[in-house]
């Protein structure tokens, strides 16, 4: 369908954007790759779209004390092809290749994906896995506290995500990312990201109302001999819902298998 009518503003500064968002039913428009389909379906009918892509300086990938500071308006394709990302966060580099299709990655923004908060999307899961700090126009929010449900964040109506800070990983950190989707570029039926560094971190994507650390499973891991037991625990720790793409039981099974594969890969990559 065609989207419902709305007013449109393209402010040049964050201050102007925040002021514009004071209007009732205003929504932020960035890359539009999640928002525009919802408008075309008429699932949403905002009175005003505030296009923040004309605000300069929000699309850089820079060093952040050995980690990275990523501007919220960075396009997926820029992150996918960033040498800094590939070198410092290879797990994120691997996950980016699974995000939708080229034309979507060319247009969609990192901040947009994070704020849309699809539970099966790669970036929210990566933010949780990498312990990201999310900088907004008001505060800094740890990624683990950013989501309060499916497609729902703790952001205020006139609060704008501006930067994503990824703290440096300990040297020699091993990583694994495994995703299962019905077709290339589809949302994941389930995905699992693993880091083995100073600690072990396991994040399940698409298996709960938001991406979650599997703390019980993590606690069982000491070395490679624990991988099967950890995977078993991971499958029990998630609470997926079944739909026409796969039953809850099937998704639990996927989490188990993907956790095993990701843990093995991460263990082999540790040094």
């Amino acid at each position: 369908m065609k989207p419902p009518a709305f007013e449109y503003l393209a402010p040049r500064t964050l201050e102007q954007a925040v002021a514009a968002l004071g209007a009732e039913d205003a929504k932020i428009l960035a890359g539009g790759q999640s928002l525009v389909p919802m408008l075309n379906f008429r699932l949403l009918a905002p009175s005003l779209l505030v296009d923040i892509t004309r605000i300069p300086g929000l699309d850089n990938v820079d060093d952040w004390d050995g980690g990275l500071r990523i501007g919220a308006l960075t396009r997926h394709h820029a992150l996918e092809t960033s040498p800094l990302v590939r070198d410092r966060f290879p797990v994120l580099h691997a996950a980016m290749a699974e995000v939708a299709h080229l034309a979507i990655r060319n247009r969609g923004t990192i901040g947009g994906s994070l704020c849309h908060g699809d539970p099966a999307a790669e970036l929210p899961g990566m933010a949780v896995l990498l312990d990201a700090q999310l900088q907004t126009t008001q505060r800094t929010i740890p990624a683990a506290e950013f989501y309060d449900g499916t497609l729902s964040t703790v952001l205020g109506a006139d609060e704008i995500l501006t930067d994503i800070m990824l703290p440096a990983l300990p040297p020699g950190t091993g990583w694994g990312f495994e995703e299962f989707a019905r077709r290339s570029g589809d949302f994941a039926l389930a995905a699992v990201g693993v880091l083995i560094g100073g600690e072990v971190r396991i994040v399940a994507i698409g298996a709960n109302e938001k991406p979650i650390r599997l703390l019980n499973a993590e606690a069982l891991f000491n070395d490679a001999s624990d991988i099967d037991a950890v995977a078993e625990a991971a499958g029990k720790e998630v609470s997926p819902e079944g739909d026409l793409h796969g039953s809850a039981e099937y998704r639990r099974h996927l989490v188990k298998v993907l956790t095993r594969r990701a843990l093995r890969a991460a263990w082999e990559r540790t040094s």
Partner: protein, 162 residues
């Protein structure tokens, strides 16, 4: 009022904010080569190149394209003077009904410009966002494969005589 350059021609138009770029190209500029299939970003038929990147014209408002340079299938070549990629589509029977073809071509152009496409797997992955309901994928992959590494494609696509 927005200003865009489409296939090297400048246009200025007043548009409603809700007008999709795909509809802008078709109804305001009369460039009906860009096809609209699903209108939800799934089928890829409306793919055009904006500022050097392939994008879904159904997931972009015309107002967002203000100041942009856009390439559509009309910019590739003409019936009498096909672009090498179009020529390859013809030679390899890479189209049947032709509905998906403009999107396939524009995606193909973006892939050929950006990626080495050393394997068919890379081509298939690159085309994964474009649906052909005649299911003629094999021939589309072969057509793109046949022009990989031919510098004539990049040059011709970028600077085709209009």
């Amino acid at each position: 009022m927005i200003a865009v350059v489409v296939n090297g021609v400048s246009y200025e138009r007043a548009v409603e904010p809700r007008m999709l770029l795909a509809d802008f190209l078709r109804y305001e500029l009369g460039l009906t080569g860009t096809h609209v299939g699903c209108e939800q970003g799934v089928c890829g038929a409306c793919t055009v190149i904006m500022n050097g990147d392939s994008v879904r014209a159904c997931l972009c408002f015309a107002v967002q394209a203000d100041g942009a340079e856009i390439e559509t299938v009309e910019g590739l070549g003409t019936v009498d003077d096909l672009n090498p990629l179009q020529q390859a589509f013809q030679e390899h029977h890479a189209l049947q009904c032709g509905f998906c073809t403009p999107g396939m071509l524009m995606t193909g152009v973006d892939l050929l410009r950006k990626y080495p496409l050393a394997t068919d797997r890379e081509i298939r992955e690159g085309l994964s966002g474009n649906l052909c309901r005649c299911t003629g994928y094999e021939h589309i992959v072969r057509a793109i494969r046949s022009v990989v590494g031919r510098s004539v494609v990049g040059r011709s696509v970028a600077g085709h005589e209009r």
